[in-house]
Amino acid sequence: MTAPGSPSVTDRTPPLPRHEADAVAPAIVVEIHGLRYWYPEVATPVLDGIDLTVRQGEMLVVIGSSGGGKSTLMLALNGIVPKQLGGRVGGQVRVAGLDPLEHELHEMAAKVGLVFQDPDSQLASIFVRDEVAFGLQNLLVARPTIEERMTEALRFVGLSDALERDVFSLSGGEKQRVAIASVLAMEPELIVLDEPTANLDPNGARDVARLVAKLRDRGRTLILVEHQINDLAVLADRLVVLDAGQVRFDGPPREVLRAHGRAIRDELGLWIPQASEFALEVEARVGPLRIFPRAAAELPSGLQAKAPDPPARVTAAEEAPPILVRAEHVAYRYGGSVDALTDVSCTVRAGEVVALLGQNGSGKSTLASLLVGLRRPGGGSLTVCGHDARSAGIAVLAREVSYVFQYPEHQFVAETVGADVAYGLERRGTLPGEIAERVGAMLRRFELADLRERHPFKLSMGQKRRLSVADMLVTEPRLLILDEPTAGQDRRNTVALIGLLDELRARTGLAIIVITHDMALVGDWCERAIVLEAGRSIFEGATAALFGALDAGTVASGALHVPDTWAIARRLWPERGERVPLLDPVGLASSVTAVGR
């Protein structure tokens, strides 16, 4: 699938920027030719002719649609596919000189280290010490060597003092660092990280990203699988794009994004860095940039922009939609002793999209549970859709407020998609005729009508997310709470979901609270933001004002960072300080008048 005119991008023997000065190319660590793989009892191969070469010291970032075979490819590198997962395989794979099909798993374990997405599931031990030593113990490494490597690996990941801690006391980021330490201790020639930051809060994700950069700088051979590559594109030597089980694009990220960024975004429905989206638009409108950026920090100098369009005037009638949530000094204490919320004040109006932000443990989930009536506030005043949340319980509030859980599977109750959507209406005692009508309309709206008889657990990731939202919207709530709606979703699924919700919002005045760590989503979609820290609300206001405050340091939340769109706006209009407009990459690019030389 080589695109004409861009040989450097699609060359299967990629350029090696970090080693170009070397007279001899580094050794090949991974060599894959024509790899095909079929899961058991599935007719279509999930990998359909993969060709890939990775050299020592390279860092690859692999992207592809949800369910597109990225993780399967990673598992093929150490033989888990097909040895543990079954199925049929074709083609050739060699990793560090070994064929995973011919060598035992434990032989491959010494060559390939795998780190997975979910920090809770991948840790096998209760104590950090056992977890880091786990692989070495299995391979019968001598005890003094184990202790030496354990100490070194924990020191490398910055957890030297955690040796005797139990894993339950670790944060998500710390667990992920322990997982990396347990792999590092085995000194593999290749480290594979499968969406290592997907389940982490911003602090955890930042720590893991720093660790990845450190590994890269130490010359480790790394393969990372990710959906969002805003922070990774600058680190990677190569960006590999999978499509339909094949390598569609492969090359230095800058070149792949410049040559194929639109195809990756629009045809494949994948995320590309916001700075690259901006650059693509600028190059199409104004002319080629001297340097094609992978992140806002790489924007070339000399960009000139006209004054941004003033925000649309708000008419008097639109100025004051009704307030749906009014929280004043709300407090909540778990078990009478653990303060989850100490002082939260905020409002949410009909029709708006509000981001609820903060580090894990800051109180976001507790506040959400008060809004839906799962808990009652212990102090302060909380009014939700006209009901006092101290006296109105779940039976009242859950009629007005719906909550879409982070993992869709948690909320599925029925054995078919149709029955699942109907469940909430049946519980309300809605008449059968009306249920059929509303369920049918909701399934059509969310493109699930053809899947009506399918079991919810058998849907794809994107379909599950759509069903989870349809389940909650069918009862026509006035307020919808979305918990991490973009987690594990590719761009196509996310954009489709946002489009549906925006359409509903405009039509019905639905208000949406988005609990998220995805600051790009906050910048692109949320009009306002509420920031919690240690049970207190430390900011409430327009999203642009939040980014300005974060930039200026007046809101000091280590959990948050500004998205690249904001950083680009600061570069375009430096004279405006923190008062730059909040625009998406296309909006930003439309203001650029010259790119400089």
């Binding site: 434990h106 096998a124 113990q137 299995n138 019968l140 779940i394 909430g424």
Partner: protein, 271 residues
């Protein structure tokens, strides 16, 4: 802190897990073969003394952890007092119901049996580091490490299951606007969907764990390198053996020779 385990340096903490398991078995066997309430009360007293003095466990913790068992014990005492088939001597009247002395003493034996089993288990769990236990089972009893890890993995996953179950219950409560289950059929359906959701999520997690373990060479060889020293204080072994000897003596003297066993008629206080 994991589950009941509280780190410490008491006699029970220092004792190796195999000897402690032997003590636990001896206590269990003692109260199971004995239907004499006085014997079971003595065993219960000895267990309490062991836990409080030799284990450093606080009485408050025991009461809190055994709360359901206290209730069960009292319920059994009352139940056997009134339904015991061999009861002839009236002890108390509750309206038309008469409690008998024979039933009451039998109930006492059962109640002390339940409390002895429960409290010895709490003391065991509160003073036994699960990691050390797994290692000692592997090293001393030569238990296959794959089997020991199954237990270890279960401990690792229990908190996750609890958290996930709470989330799933909350999700159902919200979707049903609080009317989660009305009637038996509804409850069964709820239980089924709850179980399916939990199972699917746990299978997904366990699959990842299994892959993460396999990819680090789990099961590669028949043994693994141990990174912990096995320490077996002699006093702990003697303590366990003393309990075993006591149980054996009781079985020989009172059950084999004396005719008292688990199915034998209860020994009343006055006999």
């Amino acid at each position: 802190m994991i589950f009941l385990y509280r780190p410490g340096s008491s006699f029970l903490h220092r004792m190796d897990s195999v000897s402690k398991s032997l003590w636990l078995l001896a206590v269990g066997l003692f109260v199971l073969v004995s239907a004499d309430w006085r014997v079971n009360a003595l065993v219960f007293g000895a267990v309490l003394l062991t836990g409080f003095v030799l284990g450093g466990v606080s009485p408050a913790m025991l009461v809190r952890r055994l709360l359901p068992l206290w209730i069960v014990a009292i319920w059994l005492l009352v139940l056997f007092s009134v339904i015991y088939p061999g009861g002839v001597t009236p002890l108390f009247h509750l309206g038309p119901i008469t409690g008998t002395r024979e039933g009451f003493t039998y109930g006492l034996a059962i109640a002390f049996r339940v409390l002895s089993l429960g409290s010895s288990s709490v003391f065991f769990a509160a003073t036994t580091d699960p990691r050390r236990m797994v290692n000692e089972y592997i090293e001393i009893l030569h238990l296959p490490y794959r089997a020991a890890f199954a237990f270890y993995a279960a401990l690792r996953f229990l908190p996750l299951v609890q958290t996930e179950a709470a989330t799933v219950r909350n999700a159902r409560a919200l979707r049903a606007q609080g009317k989660v289950a009305v009637g038996v059929r509804d409850r069964l359906q709820l239980l089924r969907s709850l179980t399916v959701a939990l199972l699917v999520n746990m299978i997904r997690r366990v699959e990842v764990t299994a892959i993460a373990m396999d990819s680090r060479g789990f099961g590669a060889y028949r043994t693994r390198t141990s990174i912990d020293d096995i320490v077996r204080p002699r006093s702990g072994i003697l303590f366990a053996l003393a309990w075993c000897a006591l149980v054996l003596a009781y079985i020989v003297v009172f059950v084999v020779l004396g005719g008292h066993g688990p199915l034998a008629a209860p020994i009343t206080g006055g006999s």
